[in-house]
Subunit: 233 residues, 4 copies
């Protein structure tokens, strides 16, 4: 009997319904279905019925493995946040080079991921954040880590600038911790906004989006570090 239902890594056998799959596979199917459903309808409007149907299983099985709608949503957020954080971290950390190069690599990874997994991006950027606790917090943790990367890069650039040459030119010593935080917020906010806009706008590639943001933001940061502030006359 073992093997009678032989299943490959990909999941379903042939065209029919695959039964008696191992738990890990079933859970992935459910989470995949949940991502789609939550992305499309939002947490409240998504229904366990639809998710079970999309996953090709009965509702009790969803409850057996994921316990409740709330835990299911949390599991989805965690899985997708880890994935996104993973690709961004891989692009930014443990790699040498000047901070702007690393920021560029991180942005490219970020925009590419958002473009390739639009439902995941929608869940993280919209559905989780607008759903209140504990979901928003779950997504905020990931965002904070990304913001910390960015703040790190900005700070690094500022120190380099202070020290001598570099992107920021010489002479700027004015960037404090709180300001770095606000700048990182603005940059990450821009990136998120651009990512959603790019996903919704046909013909905009991840590379274009990343380039626009670098043009827009990094040179502005450079100015800031040269203490060239704008101020009302």
């Amino acid at each position: 009997m073992g093997g009678v239902w032989g299943f490959g890594v990909g999941g379903v056998v042939g065209g029919g319904k695959a039964r008696r799959l191992p738990r890990v596979v079933r859970e992935r199917q459910m989470l995949d279905a949940a991502v789609r459903s939550f992305a499309r309808h939002g947490y409240q409007a998504a229904s366990m019925d639809e998710i079970a149907e999309l996953a090709g299983v009965s509702k009790p099985l969803v409850y057996l493995y994921l316990n409740s709608k709330e835990e299911l949503f949390t599991a989805v957020i965690r899985r997708e946040a880890q994935a996104l954080l993973g690709v961004v971290a891989e692009a930014v950390v443990g790699r040498g080079g000047p901070p702007d190069e690393r920021l560029w690599a991180g942005l490219l990874a970020f925009f590419s991921y958002a473009a390739e997994h639009p439902d995941a991006w929608t869940v993280l950027s919209v559905r989780a954040r607008t759903q209140g606790e504990p979901f928003a917090g779950e997504a905020a943790r990931m965002r904070d880590e990304i913001t910390a990367f960015v703040a790190g890069l900005i700070g690094e650039a500022a120190r380099e600038a202070r020290g001598g040459g570099g992107v920021a030119g010489r002479g700027g010593a004015a960037v404090g911790g709180r300001e770095v935080e606000a700048l990182a917020q603005a940059l990450v906010g821009s990136a998120e906004s651009l990512a959603s806009w790019a996903n919704a706008t046909p013909g905009v590639t991840a590379k274009e989006a990343a380039a626009t943001l670098m043009d827009f933001a990094w040179s502005g940061l450079g100015n800031l570090m040269k203490s060239e502030r704008w101020s009302p006359r």
Copy 2:
């Protein structure tokens, strides 16, 4: 006697429940309550029961005046979008001065409004936009008008820069229509993102937020117009 319930523009008199108010007053109370409820819970999770209770009326009266949850939400979005658009437009149009001065004025008005009416801002920026049609479209119209203001100011600055001196320095002629659009998107996106962040972060004033954004964005724009692009080495 006549006048025993005399009511002012502001609404309820004293601490007791005011009964038999004129329709216009009641409608405003209901819309106010709806803004709070939709902001807190989102469209789906907000309940007509809670809205009625917050407004101090019975549910049937809400239906008598606003017809349905959908129409109520639409009415809320329209009212708040008009209000926000109004203050921004007043700050930007029909006023002379260089484009950066007018952008500064507009940003200040925008951040101030968002700070003073956080629920309205949440409804417009989050609840309406994530609820799909027809609500997202209703809010998008307002956003588009604001984005058009900003694009106009950027374009104007670019023309001035092309023409000679000005913020952007001389010589830059590289900013095309599509690029202006993307920049305006990024700037508006940053502004929205910053506004929500400022509302959620104690101690951040509207003026600070506006200043951060001007520093961050306008000088970056200036660089762009000098054709000082960032590009991967």
Copy 3:
């Protein structure tokens, strides 16, 4: 000021809304509106809102004059039943001639009334009867009176037949009270059924309907009185 609103018998003055009409006029307007509304939607589905609007008055006035939906429906049934009974009675009683002639006159009056007041006929034949007590009883009283007329005419014909000549020919003495009742029921049932069918079928006149029924029924009655029963072989 009296007379400033001068109104004619017909009701509304000019094109605008007539205000301060005498009670009798207002009540007729309300009953007219109610007949239409009850005929179209049935008792349950008809709404006091619609009736008030059709009557051109506010709802409280309807309650002031007619007290409740139930009483309003009852008032409608009574008014329409009296009217229908009136025209039929006028055609049948207090008039000489043989019973078949009088039946013919009664049927003609009945079908004509139903054709000319289809809403009233619908209320009586359908809406009242299917609404349970006390409404069905109200309509049943009228139907019983009409059935009694018919039974009277059948009985009279039977006696004539027994006595000698007449429609029914000679020799038949077999028609008892219970049978007369059943026959009258069948005839009245046919008439009602035909009236509704005629109203719903374009091009069928009251005279045609009456003729069909006389052909169908009266000669059959004649046979019965000649004891020519049908019986399974």
Copy 4:
């Protein structure tokens, strides 16, 4: 053990509530309950609450299986119309003999069914027909089929009469298509009317009702075919 709840075709075992019955059984219970409820109160006034309670299940289960009040009513009408049509068709078609014999058989089947299933008969003859589309249409289809049977029998009798002897006697050739239609309408209308009257009148049997109608109608039809029309003098 398995089988502890063993249930027969008829439904519930013993006096206690049977749980976890198969869908088909539950659906039949719900339809039975719905027939009773719709017959008593009419479509609008019947409540899903009462139906669920009569069926011995919770409301959500009714919705799970029957989807909505409208679909439930439609399902009821279809089931009962099929059943009634079935017994009448079985009595009339695929059976030899003269048309009057077959009409007699059909009427007997009809009146018996109406007597044995008064709620079903009320739903079909009253509740469905007065509820407007799409319900009236659903019931009208069944009625039309029955009327077609009757028209067929009348036409057959007329042709026999034309041909020579037969019920209708000789010589009559005057019955046209439209007239046959009207006669069939009148006969079916009488039958319906009589059925409801018989159900409401204690002591009237189906056989009596059928006999009354045959006496009343068939001999009348015979006269018609002999061209013995009634006409006002």
